[in-house]
C-alpha cells in the first residue's frame, strides 16, 4: 500500500479505515487469490489448516505415548529414545505450532479486521509473508523427523546442557532444526503480530472505540502484544544455545564430564537459560489462554442472549493478567536451584494473578445467570471450557504456591494441570469457535448431531483423562518417564492399580483422539452439504455478522464500511424489537428492523 501522510485531525471527516477499498490489492490470478493471497481471511485459513495438520501429527504422537504408558513394553518400536522424542515434539507442536498459530494467525487474521470493521490488515503483504515463513518453520520442524538421530528429545523446555549433549536423542541435527525453526517462527510471527496490533490500534472503523470492541478482539490483541514481547526471549535463548552447540561458546554450558568425556565448556549457567525460557514460556500460556478467554466471552454472551456481565472488568482483567504474566515466570523454577528467596516473590505474584482470573470465571457464570441460554454446539463447548478451566485454574494455585509445588513439580500433577488449562480448555475454545464462526466462513452450518456427539465425547473424555491423572502426580509418579519400572523394579509406592489407571487413561485418550475424525469429517462435508446459514444465524451483534455477503468477500464490507454506534453486547435490551441490536444500528432505531 502507498505510504502517505494524511491529515487526521479533521474532526468532521474521519477516514473509516486505513485501507480504503480501492487501495486494496486485487489479485487477478487464481494463484494470487488462493495461494499467495494477501487477504487476511485466506491467510487465516492457510494458517488454520497448516496448524491443524501439524496438530494432527502431535495428536498421533500423544496417542503413541499413551500406548506406551498404558501398555508398557507391548509396542516395541517405542524405545526410550523414541518416547522422549514424542514427548518433545508433541509438546512443542501443540503449544507453538498449533495453538499459538491457530489463535493468533488463524482466528486473529479472520476476526480482527471483520470485528473492528476494517477492510483488511493494515499491511496485507507483510501478512502474507508471515504465513509463508510460518509454513517454512513448520517444514523445518517436521524435517527433523527425517534427519540422522531424529528429532530432539530434550523436552519442550529444551533445557541445556542435556539438549545438546549425546545422551539425548537428536542432540546434533534434531535440536538445530528445532532451534532454527523456532527462530523462523518468531520472525514470521513478529510480522503477523505487528499487523494485528496496529490494525486494532489504527484501523478500527468509525465509532469502534476501544471499549466497544468485542472481548474476542481484546483477547487476541493482548495475547499478540504478549507474544511480541515474550518471543524475543525465546529467540535470544535459541541463538545463544545454537552458538553453544555449534561454535562451542559457554553461555549456558558449565564444565561437564559427559559419558566419561571431559568437554571444553566451562563456567556457563544452565539456570540462565531457564530464566530466558520461562520469561517467554509463562506469557506463552496466556498467549494461548487470552484469546480463548475472549472467544468464550463472546460465545457465552451470544448464546445466552445476554450482555457479558462486567465488560469493563473483563477488559481490565485481560490487560492485568497480560501485564502480570511477565513477572511470574520463575514459578516454573522453584526447584531449579535458583536463589530460594525468589520463591517468596514469585509465589506472591503468581497467586495475585489468581484474582483477575477468578473474576473472569465469575463473570462468565454471572452472564449465564438470568440469561436465556441456547445450548447450541458452540455454547456446549463454551460451558465445557468454563468447567475445565475452573479445574485447571485451581490446580494452578497448588503449583504457584511455592511450597506446595515442591512435592508436585515434575510429576503427573503438572502434566494434568497444564493439559487442563492450556490443552483441554483452549482446545474446547477452539472447537466452540469453529462451530460458531464456520457459518460465516463457509456460509453453511456444521452438522449439529455430529457436533453434539463430538462435544460429549471430547469433553467428558478429556476430563476423564486428566482429572484422575492429578492423583498419580500427588502420589509421586514423575513426568517424562518412559516407564515406571526401572533397574530397581517398580517403586513399591506405585501400586499395581496405577497401571490399571494408566491403561484406562490411554483407552480414553484413544477414544477422544479418534472422535476428532468425526469433527474433520463434519468440517469437510458441511462445506457443501451443510444447511445454509444466512448472514447472521446466531443473531449476533458484532460486525462480522453484519456483512452483506456470506462468506465476506475481498474488502469485507462491500462499498461502505459500517459505522459503529454501540458496544458489542446489546442483547435483550429492554424495549428493543429483537433480542439483539447489531453494533451498526444507530441509537433510536432499536425498535425498528434490526438490519
Amino acid at each position: 500500500m502507498a505510504i502517505t501522510d494524511v491529515a487526521h485531525d479533521a474532526v468532521d471527516y474521519v477516514r473509516p479505515a486505513e485501507v480504503a477499498e480501492e487501495e486494496l490489492y486485487h489479485p487477478k490470478t487464481w494463484l494470487g487469490k488462493y495461494v499467495f493471497s494477501q487477504d487476511a481471511k485466506i491467510i487465516a485459513l492457510q494458517y488454520s489448516m497448516t496448524a491443524m495438520a501439524v496438530g494432527l501429527i502431535a495428536l498421533v504422537l500423544s496417542v503413541l505415548m499413551r500406548l506406551q504408558l498404558g501398555f508398557p513394553g507391548v509396542f516395541s518400536f517405542i524405545t526410550p529414545d523414541a518416547y522422549i522424542q514424542f514427548v518433545t515434539m508433541h509438546g512443542m507442536i501443540m503449544v507453538i505450532y498449533l495453538l499459538t498459530a491457530l489463535f493468533l494467525g488463524g482466528f486473529g487474521n479472520y476476526l480482527i479486521p471483520l470485528m473492528v470493521g476494517a477492510r483488511d490488515m493494515v499491511f496485507p503483504y507483510v501478512n502474507m509473508i508471515s504465513y509463508w515463513i510460518y509454513l517454512f518453520a513448520v517444514i523445518l520442524l517436521l524435517a527433523s523427523f527425517f534427519v540422522p538421530g531424529g528429532p530432539t528429545g530434550a523436552g519442550w523446555t529444551l533445557y541445556p546442557p542435556q539438549t545438546i549433549l549425546p545422551g539425548t536423542p537428536g542432540a546434533d541435527w534434531g535440536i538445530l532444526l528445532m532451534l532454527v525453526s523456532l527462530a523462523f517462527f518468531v520472525i514470521g510471527f513478529t510480522m503477523g503480530g505487528l499487523n494485528y496490533v496496529v490494525t486494532v490500534l489504527q484501523a478500527r472503523t468509525r465509532g469502534m472505540t476501544l471499549m466497544r470492541m468485542p472481548l474476542t478482539v481484546w483477547g487476541i490483541f493482548t495475547a499478540t502484544v504478549l507474544a511480541l514481547f515474550a518471543f524475543p526471549a525465546l529467540f535470544v535463548a535459541a541463538i545463544m544455545m545454537t552458538l553453544d552447540s555449534v561454535i562451542g561458546t559457554s553461555f549456558f554450558m558449565p564444565a561437564i564430564v559427559s559419558m566419561g568425556q571431559t568437554l571444553d565448556y566451562s563456567g556457563g549457567s544452565p539456570v540462565l537459560f531457564q530464566h530466558l525460557f520461562w520469561f517467554f514460556g509463562h506469557p506463552e500460556v496466556y498467549i494461548v489462554a487470552l484469546p480463548a478467554f475472549g472467544i468464550i466471552s463472546e460465545l457465552i454472551s451470544v448464546h445466552a442472549r445476554k450482555n457479558i456481565f462486567g465488560y469493563r472488568l473483563m477488559v481490565w482483567a485481560i490487560v492485568v493478567i497480560g501485564g502480570l504474566s511477565f513477572i511470574v515466570w520463575a514459578h516454573h523454577m522453584y526447584v531449579s536451584g535458583m536463589n530460594p528467596y525468589f520463591g517468596f516473590f514469585f509465589a506472591t505474584t503468581t497467586l495475585i494473578i489468581a484474582v483477575p482470573t477468578a473474576i473472569k470465571v465469575y463473570n462468565w457464570v454471572l452472564t449465564l445467570w438470568r440469561g436465556n441460554i441456547k445450548l447450541t454446539v458452540p455454547m456446549l463447548f463454551a460451558i465445557g471450557f468454563v468447567f475445565t478451566f475452573i479445574n485447571g485454574g485451581l490446580t494452578g494455585i497448588f503449583l504457584g504456591n511455592v511450597i506446595v509445588d515442591v512435592p508436585l513439580s515434575d510429576t503427573y500433577f503438572v502434566v494434568a494441570h497444564f493439559h487442563m488449562v492450556m490443552a483441554v480448555s483452549p482446545v474446547l475454545a477452539v472447537f466452540g469457535a469453529v462451530y460458531h464462526w464456520y457459518p460465516k466462513i463457509t456460509g453453511r452450518m456444521l452438522h449439529e448431531g455430529m457436533g453434539k456427539f463430538h462435544f460429549w465425547v471430547t469433553f467428558v473424555g478429556l476430563y476423564c483423562i486428566y482429572y484422575p491423572m492429578h492423583y498419580l502426580g500427588i502420589m509421586g509418579v514423575p513426568r517424562r518417564y518412559y516407564a515406571n519400572e526401572g533397574s530397581t523394579g517398580l517403586p513399591d509406592w506405585i501400586p499395581e492399580s496405577a497401571q490399571v489407571l494408566n491403561a484406562g487413561i490411554s483407552i480414553a485418550a484413544i477414544v477422544v483422539a479418534s472422535v476428532q475424525l468425526v469433527f474433520l469429517y463434519n468440517l469437510a462435508v458441511s462445506t457443501t452439504r451443510g444447511k445454509r446459514a444466512g448472514d447472521n444465524p446466531w443473531g449476533a451483534t458484532t460486525l462480522e455478522w453484519q456483512t452483506s455477503t456470506t462468506p465476506p468477500t475481498h474488502g469485507n464490507f462491500g462499498k461502505e464500511l459500517p459505522s459503529v454506534y454501540r458496544w458489542a453486547y446489546d442483547y435483550s435490551v429492554p424495549g428493543a424489537k429483537d433480542d439483539f441490536i447489531p453494533q451498526n444500528v444507530p441509537a433510536g432505531q432499536e425498535t425498528g428492523d434490526a438490519r
Binding site: P270, A304, T348, G371, F398, Y471, R480
Partner: protein, 364 residues
C-alpha cells in the same frame, strides 16, 4: 438439562474420586508434614470453590434454559457484587499463600546442626559422599574426574582424604537428625527425588544446590530422577535407607574413604566372580541403561546376551563372545548395535574387574 446433570455428576464424581481413590500421598518419612498440611488447606479452599462454582454453573444452565417467551435480563454491571467477589477471592488466596510462605521460610532455612551428605548425579546413576571424621567435604573439580577418581576429588585437599565415597546403588542416613543434602551433577540437570520425603531439588552442573530434611520413618526408599536428563532418565535409580544411628554408623564404617580408594586396591567387591561382576555393574551405573530381564532400555538388554547374534548399525552381524563383550565395555563405540545411539561411555576397568563382569554377563 442433560448438560446440567452431567456437570453435577462430574462434580460429584470428582469429589468422590478424591476421597475414594487409592492413589494419594505416600506415607511421609520426613519432617515435612507441614507441606502436606499446606496441600490439605489448598485442597479444602480450592475444592470448596470448585464445587460451589460448578454447581452454580449447572444450576444456571438448567434454570435459565432457552424459552421463546422470555428475555434475558439486561444487567451490564453490578459493582457491589464484583467487589464482594474480588474481596472474597483475595481472602481465599491469602489463606493459601500465607501458610505456604511460612513453610517455605522453614524450607530455605537450613538448621545449623544439620549433617552433610552429597548426592552426585550423572547420566544415569547416583553416587554419594559423606564428609568423614572431620565433618568437612573436600573440594572437588570436574577436571579431576577420571576412572580412578569418579568424584573429581581434589587429591591435594586434606579435608577430602577422609571423605566416604559410596558409588553403590544405595546410601544410608540416620533417623532423627536434620541432614543437608548437597547436590552436584557431573553432566546435565537431574533432580534428587524421593516422594516420601516431599522435598526435592534439581542438580545443576556448575553449581551446588541443596535442600534439607529430617528422616523420621525407617525404611528403604527409591530414589528417582525428576528432571529430564536424556535417554535413561526414567531409569536413573538408587535407594535410600533410613535407619537408626547405630546401624548407620556400622554401615558407614564399611564404606571406603577417598584415601582408601587412591592407595590400596580395596576389595570393595566380594563373593563369586558372578557376584563380584554384579556388584561392579551396579556401582558403575550400567543398570541405568541395560536391563537383565529382557525389558527394553537405552542399551540392549543383557538377558541371554552371550552367544546371541547382534545386528550392527553398519549392517553386519556379530556373534557375542567374550572378546566382543570386552570391546563393548572398553571401547563401546567401536561397534554399535543397530537401533541404539552411540552414547555409552568407555570404561577403564582392570583385568580382574573385566573378568568378573564377563562372568556375570555370561551367567545371565
Amino acid at each position: 438439562m442433560v448438560l446440567a446433570i452431567i456437570l453435577v455428576l462430574l462434580v460429584i464424581g470428582s469429589v468422590l474420586f478424591h476421597f475414594l481413590s487409592p492413589w494419594y500421598l505416600t506415607p511421609i518419612a520426613s519432617n515435612w508434614g507441614f507441606i502436606d498440611d499446606t496441600l490439605t488447606i489448598t485442597f479444602i479452599v480450592c475444592g470448596f470453590v470448585f464445587v460451589v462454582i460448578n454447581l452454580f454453573l449447572a444450576y444456571c444452565v438448567y434454570r435459565f434454559r432457552y424459552s421463546k417467551d422470555r428475555r434475558a435480563e439486561y444487567e451490564p454491571e453490578n459493582k457491589r457484587l464484583e467487589w464482594w467477589l474480588t474481596a472474597f477471592t483475595t481472602v481465599g488466596v491469602v489463606a493459601m499463600l500465607a501458610p505456604g510462605l511460612f513453610v517455605w521460610a522453614k524450607y530455605v532455612d537450613v538448621p545449623e546442626e544439620a549433617s552433610l551428605v552429597e548426592a552426585v548425579g550423572k547420566q544415569w546413576s547416583w553416587s554419594y559422599r559423606y564428609p568423614g571424621e572431620d565433618g568437612i567435604l573436600g573440594t572437588v573439580d570436574v577436571r579431576h574426574i577420571d576412572a580412578k577418581n569418579p568424584f573429581g576429588m581434589n587429591p591435594d585437599d586434606p579435608n577430602g582424604q577422609d571423605d566416604v565415597l559410596v558409588s553403590g546403588s544405595e546410601f544410608h542416613l540416620p533417623l532423627g537428625d536434620p541432614v543437608k543434602v548437597l547436590l552436584r551433577s557431573k553432566d546435565v540437570l537431574h533432580d534428587f527425588y524421593v516422594p516420601q520425603i516431599r522435598a526435592k531439588m534439581d542438580l545443576v552442573p556448575g553449581m551446588i544446590t541443596y535442600f534439607w530434611f529430617t528422616p523420621t520413618l525407617a525404611g528403604t526408599y527409591d530414589v528417582l530422577c525428576a528432571e529430564l536428563c536424556g535417554s535413561g532418565h526414567y531409569n536413573m535409580r538408587s535407594r535410600m535407607v533410613l535407619e537408626d544411628e547405630a546401624d548407620f554408623r556400622a554401615w558407614l564404617a564399611t564404606q571406603p574413604t577417598f584415601a582408601d580408594t587412591q592407595t590400596v586396591q580395596v576389595a570393595t567387591v566380594s563373593g563369586s566372580p558372578e557376584e563380584q561382576g554384579r556388584q561392579i555393574a551396579e556401582s558403575q551405573g550400567c543398570m541405568g541403561c541395560h536391563s537383565i530381564d529382557g525389558s527394553p532400555g537405552v542399551g540392549p538388554t543383557w538377558k541371554e546376551l552371550a552367544g546371541r547374534t547382534e545386528e550392527l548399525a553398519d549392517g553386519s552381524a556379530v556373534i557375542v563372545d567374550d572378546a566382543y563383550l570386552v570391546e563393548s565395555i572398553v571401547a563401546p563405540n567401536a561397534t554399535i548395535v543397530a537401533g541404539y545411539p552411540p552414547i555409552m561411555p568407555a570404561y577403564q576397568l582392570d583385568d580382574a574387574q573385566l573378568a568378573a563382569l564377563i562372568a556375570y554377563l555370561n551367567s545371565l
